[in-house]
Protein backbone atom coordinates (compact mmCIF):
# COMPACT_ATOMS: atom_id res chain seq x y z
CA UNK A 1 0.00 0.00 0.00
CA UNK A 2 1.27 3.47 -0.77
CA UNK A 3 2.11 5.94 1.97
CA UNK A 4 -0.38 8.78 1.50
CA UNK A 5 1.42 10.99 4.03
CA UNK A 6 4.23 11.49 1.52
CA UNK A 7 1.86 13.38 -0.80
CA UNK A 8 1.54 17.12 -0.19
CA UNK A 9 -1.46 19.05 -1.62
CA UNK A 10 -0.38 21.45 -4.39
CA UNK A 11 -3.63 22.29 -6.15
CA UNK A 12 -7.08 22.40 -4.56
CA UNK A 13 -10.24 23.28 -6.44
CA UNK A 14 -13.59 23.61 -4.70
CA UNK A 15 -16.90 23.77 -6.56
CA UNK A 16 -20.50 23.68 -5.35
CA UNK A 17 -22.98 21.72 -7.42
CA UNK A 18 -26.78 21.65 -7.24
CA UNK A 19 -26.98 17.85 -7.19
CA UNK A 20 -26.68 14.93 -4.79
CA UNK A 21 -23.53 13.17 -3.52
CA UNK A 22 -24.71 9.99 -5.27
CA UNK A 23 -25.00 11.68 -8.67
CA UNK A 24 -21.62 13.36 -8.26
CA UNK A 25 -20.09 10.01 -7.33
CA UNK A 26 -21.61 8.47 -10.45
CA UNK A 27 -20.29 11.35 -12.57
CA UNK A 28 -16.78 10.79 -11.19
CA UNK A 29 -16.75 7.03 -11.69
CA UNK A 30 -18.83 6.21 -14.79
CA UNK A 31 -17.56 6.51 -18.39
CA UNK A 32 -20.86 7.81 -19.79
CA UNK A 33 -20.30 10.92 -17.66
CA UNK A 34 -16.50 11.25 -17.88
CA UNK A 35 -16.51 11.19 -21.69
CA UNK A 36 -18.77 14.24 -21.57
CA UNK A 37 -16.68 16.41 -19.24
CA UNK A 38 -13.12 14.98 -19.14
CA UNK A 39 -11.90 15.95 -22.61
CA UNK A 40 -13.58 12.82 -24.02
CA UNK A 41 -11.74 10.30 -21.83
CA UNK A 42 -13.62 7.27 -20.52
CA UNK A 43 -12.96 6.19 -16.95
CA UNK A 44 -12.38 2.51 -16.13
CA UNK A 45 -12.16 1.92 -12.41
CA UNK A 46 -12.31 -1.19 -10.24
CA UNK A 47 -14.64 -0.33 -7.37
CA UNK A 48 -12.34 -1.25 -4.51
CA UNK A 49 -9.19 -0.14 -2.72
CA UNK A 50 -6.16 -1.25 -4.73
CA UNK A 51 -8.25 -1.58 -7.91
CA UNK A 52 -6.98 -0.44 -11.29
CA UNK A 53 -7.86 2.99 -12.63
CA UNK A 54 -7.55 4.25 -16.20
CA UNK A 55 -8.80 7.22 -18.19
CA UNK A 56 -8.89 6.16 -21.85
CA UNK A 57 -8.92 8.61 -24.73
CA UNK A 58 -11.47 8.25 -27.54
CA UNK A 59 -8.76 6.71 -29.78
CA UNK A 60 -8.18 3.96 -27.19
CA UNK A 61 -4.84 5.22 -25.90
CA UNK A 62 -4.30 5.83 -22.20
CA UNK A 63 -4.70 9.35 -20.92
CA UNK A 64 -4.12 8.71 -17.21
CA UNK A 65 -3.57 5.54 -15.19
CA UNK A 66 -3.18 4.64 -11.54
CA UNK A 67 -4.75 2.70 -8.69
CA UNK A 68 -7.62 3.24 -6.29
CA UNK A 69 -6.35 4.39 -2.88
CA UNK A 70 -9.73 5.03 -1.29
CA UNK A 71 -13.18 3.96 -2.47
CA UNK A 72 -15.81 5.31 -0.06
CA UNK A 73 -18.99 6.07 -2.01
CA UNK A 74 -20.43 8.65 -2.05
CA UNK A 75 -18.01 10.66 0.13
CA UNK A 76 -14.42 10.17 -0.89
CA UNK A 77 -12.53 8.81 -3.86
CA UNK A 78 -8.73 8.86 -4.09
CA UNK A 79 -6.57 7.50 -6.88
CA UNK A 80 -2.91 7.59 -7.78
CA UNK A 81 -2.62 9.54 -11.01
CA UNK A 82 0.02 9.15 -13.66
CA UNK A 83 -0.31 11.23 -16.82
CA UNK A 84 0.53 8.93 -19.76
CA UNK A 85 -0.71 10.80 -22.81
CA UNK A 86 2.23 13.23 -22.83
CA UNK A 87 5.38 11.13 -23.37
CA UNK A 88 7.47 13.68 -21.43
CA UNK A 89 5.36 13.06 -18.32
CA UNK A 90 5.48 9.28 -18.24
CA UNK A 91 8.58 9.08 -16.08
CA UNK A 92 7.41 11.54 -13.44
CA UNK A 93 6.26 10.22 -10.05
CA UNK A 94 2.50 9.65 -9.88
CA UNK A 95 0.48 12.19 -7.98
CA UNK A 96 -2.56 11.57 -5.80
CA UNK A 97 -5.94 12.94 -6.83
CA UNK A 98 -8.73 12.88 -4.28
CA UNK A 99 -12.32 13.99 -4.45
CA UNK A 100 -14.24 14.85 -1.29
CA UNK A 101 -18.00 15.14 -1.55
CA UNK A 102 -19.97 16.88 1.22
CA UNK A 103 -23.53 18.09 1.50
CA UNK A 104 -23.53 21.88 2.02
CA UNK A 105 -27.02 23.23 2.45
CA UNK A 106 -29.01 22.70 -0.75
CA UNK A 107 -25.98 21.92 -2.80
CA UNK A 108 -22.94 19.68 -2.61
CA UNK A 109 -19.34 20.77 -2.17
CA UNK A 110 -16.88 18.87 -4.34
CA UNK A 111 -13.21 19.35 -3.42
CA UNK A 112 -10.51 18.12 -5.78
CA UNK A 113 -7.03 17.87 -4.28
CA UNK A 114 -3.94 17.17 -6.37
CA UNK A 115 -1.08 16.11 -4.09
CA UNK A 116 2.52 15.34 -5.00
CA UNK A 117 5.21 13.15 -3.48
CA UNK A 118 8.14 15.21 -4.75
CA UNK A 119 9.14 18.85 -4.93
CA UNK A 120 7.30 19.47 -8.19
CA UNK A 121 8.04 22.83 -9.85
CA UNK A 122 5.13 25.25 -10.18
CA UNK A 123 5.48 25.22 -13.97
CA UNK A 124 4.59 21.52 -13.99
CA UNK A 125 1.52 22.24 -11.89
CA UNK A 126 0.24 24.71 -14.48
CA UNK A 127 -1.35 21.94 -16.56
CA UNK A 128 -3.58 20.83 -13.71
CA UNK A 129 -4.26 24.40 -12.64
CA UNK A 130 -5.61 25.15 -16.13
CA UNK A 131 -7.29 21.79 -16.62
CA UNK A 132 -9.12 21.13 -13.35
CA UNK A 133 -11.27 24.28 -13.44
CA UNK A 134 -12.33 23.39 -16.99
CA UNK A 135 -13.07 19.76 -16.11
CA UNK A 136 -14.95 20.50 -12.92
CA UNK A 137 -16.87 23.44 -14.43
CA UNK A 138 -17.99 21.12 -17.18
CA UNK A 139 -18.99 18.43 -14.66
CA UNK A 140 -21.08 21.02 -12.81
CA UNK A 141 -22.79 22.17 -16.00
CA UNK A 142 -23.46 18.57 -17.01
CA UNK A 143 -25.15 17.76 -13.70
CA UNK A 144 -27.10 21.02 -13.47
CA UNK A 145 -28.15 21.55 -17.08
CA UNK A 146 -27.61 18.17 -18.76
CA UNK A 147 -25.07 19.77 -21.06
CA UNK A 148 -21.29 19.77 -20.54
CA UNK A 149 -19.01 22.58 -21.71
CA UNK A 150 -17.06 22.11 -24.94
CA UNK A 151 -13.57 23.20 -23.98
CA UNK A 152 -10.54 22.67 -26.18
CA UNK A 153 -7.23 23.07 -24.41
CA UNK A 154 -3.55 22.70 -25.09
CA UNK A 155 -0.97 21.99 -22.39
CA UNK A 156 0.39 25.32 -21.08
CA UNK A 157 3.66 26.36 -22.73
CA UNK A 158 5.35 26.85 -19.36
CA UNK A 159 4.62 23.21 -18.51
CA UNK A 160 6.05 21.93 -21.79
CA UNK A 161 9.15 24.08 -21.31
CA UNK A 162 9.61 22.79 -17.77
CA UNK A 163 9.28 19.20 -19.02
CA UNK A 164 11.89 19.84 -21.70
CA UNK A 165 14.21 21.32 -19.07
CA UNK A 166 13.81 18.21 -16.85
CA UNK A 167 15.02 15.99 -19.68
CA UNK A 168 18.28 17.88 -20.02
Amino acid sequence: MIDIARFKPKTVYVIFIASTPEKIWAALTAPEFSTAYFFGSAIEIEPKQGGAFVMRKPDGTIDVSGAVVEWSPPRRLAVTWGVRWLPQMRDLPDCLVSYDIEQAGDSVRLTMTEAHQWDVPDALLSGGRAGWPAILSSLKSLLETGKPLAIKMQPPREMLEALAALKR
Partner: protein, 111 residues
Amino acid sequence: MTAFTAAGAKAHDDPIIESDPPHRLVYGWKPMYKDLPDERMSRVTFELEPFKDQTRLTVTHDDFDEGSVMFRMISKGWPAVLSSLKSFLETGKGLAPSWDDEAQKRAATGA
Protein backbone atom coordinates in the same frame (compact mmCIF):
# COMPACT_ATOMS: atom_id res chain seq x y z
CA MET B 1 -18.30 49.41 -5.44
CA THR B 2 -21.08 49.19 -2.88
CA ALA B 3 -22.97 46.07 -1.85
CA PHE B 4 -25.72 45.42 0.66
CA THR B 5 -26.65 42.37 2.69
CA ALA B 6 -30.03 40.70 2.21
CA ALA B 7 -31.11 42.55 5.36
CA GLY B 8 -30.20 45.91 3.80
CA ALA B 9 -27.01 46.72 5.72
CA LYS B 10 -24.09 48.13 3.77
CA ALA B 11 -21.52 45.36 3.31
CA HIS B 12 -19.08 46.99 0.91
CA ASP B 13 -18.04 50.51 0.03
CA ASP B 14 -14.82 49.85 -1.83
CA PRO B 15 -12.89 51.74 -4.52
CA ILE B 16 -12.83 50.58 -8.14
CA ILE B 17 -9.17 50.32 -9.10
CA GLU B 18 -9.61 49.36 -12.74
CA SER B 19 -12.65 48.82 -14.98
CA ASP B 20 -12.38 47.64 -18.57
CA PRO B 21 -15.74 46.10 -19.50
CA PRO B 22 -16.21 43.29 -20.31
CA HIS B 23 -12.64 42.09 -19.81
CA ARG B 24 -11.29 43.19 -16.49
CA LEU B 25 -12.48 44.59 -13.17
CA VAL B 26 -10.32 45.32 -10.13
CA TYR B 27 -11.60 46.65 -6.84
CA GLY B 28 -10.44 47.06 -3.27
CA TRP B 29 -11.82 44.79 -0.57
CA LYS B 30 -12.56 45.81 2.97
CA PRO B 31 -16.02 44.52 3.89
CA MET B 32 -18.09 46.27 6.57
CA TYR B 33 -19.64 43.22 8.21
CA LYS B 34 -19.63 43.28 12.00
CA ASP B 35 -16.96 41.34 13.90
CA LEU B 36 -14.45 41.29 11.09
CA PRO B 37 -10.74 41.56 11.91
CA ASP B 38 -9.32 45.05 11.39
CA GLU B 39 -7.08 44.41 8.39
CA ARG B 40 -5.98 46.69 5.60
CA MET B 41 -7.74 46.65 2.26
CA SER B 42 -6.95 43.75 -0.06
CA ARG B 43 -7.62 43.58 -3.83
CA VAL B 44 -9.86 41.49 -6.10
CA THR B 45 -9.22 41.08 -9.83
CA PHE B 46 -11.74 39.57 -12.24
CA GLU B 47 -10.57 38.59 -15.71
CA LEU B 48 -12.95 37.42 -18.42
CA GLU B 49 -11.73 35.55 -21.48
CA PRO B 50 -14.06 34.24 -24.18
CA PHE B 51 -13.63 30.56 -24.85
CA LYS B 52 -15.81 29.83 -27.90
CA ASP B 53 -19.39 30.23 -26.65
CA GLN B 54 -18.15 30.09 -23.06
CA THR B 55 -16.17 32.39 -20.84
CA ARG B 56 -13.30 31.67 -18.49
CA LEU B 57 -13.61 33.80 -15.37
CA THR B 58 -10.44 34.04 -13.31
CA VAL B 59 -10.68 35.63 -9.87
CA THR B 60 -7.49 36.61 -8.10
CA HIS B 61 -7.78 37.96 -4.58
CA ASP B 62 -4.42 39.17 -3.28
CA ASP B 63 -2.50 41.85 -1.41
CA PHE B 64 -3.05 40.38 2.05
CA ASP B 65 -0.77 40.68 5.02
CA GLU B 66 0.86 37.49 6.29
CA GLY B 67 -1.53 35.51 8.52
CA SER B 68 -4.63 37.40 7.35
CA VAL B 69 -7.93 36.11 8.74
CA MET B 70 -9.77 37.67 5.80
CA PHE B 71 -7.67 35.54 3.45
CA ARG B 72 -8.94 32.39 5.17
CA MET B 73 -12.51 33.66 4.95
CA ILE B 74 -12.43 34.54 1.26
CA SER B 75 -10.75 31.22 0.47
CA LYS B 76 -13.94 29.55 1.66
CA GLY B 77 -16.27 32.17 0.26
CA TRP B 78 -15.22 32.59 -3.36
CA PRO B 79 -15.78 28.96 -4.46
CA ALA B 80 -19.34 29.18 -3.13
CA VAL B 81 -20.04 32.59 -4.65
CA LEU B 82 -18.55 31.72 -8.03
CA SER B 83 -20.30 28.34 -8.13
CA SER B 84 -23.55 30.12 -7.42
CA LEU B 85 -22.86 32.72 -10.13
CA LYS B 86 -22.29 29.95 -12.66
CA SER B 87 -25.50 28.17 -11.67
CA PHE B 88 -27.41 31.44 -11.87
CA LEU B 89 -26.16 32.24 -15.39
CA GLU B 90 -26.69 28.71 -16.68
CA THR B 91 -29.93 27.71 -14.97
CA GLY B 92 -31.46 30.97 -13.75
CA LYS B 93 -31.15 29.81 -10.16
CA GLY B 94 -28.31 30.55 -7.75
CA LEU B 95 -27.19 28.28 -4.92
CA ALA B 96 -28.09 28.94 -1.29
CA PRO B 97 -25.25 30.48 0.71
CA SER B 98 -23.89 27.53 2.60
CA TRP B 99 -20.12 27.58 2.38
CA ASP B 100 -19.61 27.32 6.11
CA ASP B 101 -21.57 27.15 9.34
CA GLU B 102 -20.96 30.81 10.17
CA ALA B 103 -22.26 32.00 6.83
CA GLN B 104 -25.26 29.73 7.16
CA LYS B 105 -26.04 31.23 10.56
CA ARG B 106 -25.64 34.77 9.24
CA ALA B 107 -27.91 33.99 6.31
CA ALA B 108 -30.51 32.46 8.62
CA THR B 109 -30.58 35.42 10.99
CA GLY B 110 -30.09 38.11 8.35
CA ALA B 111 -27.30 39.58 10.48
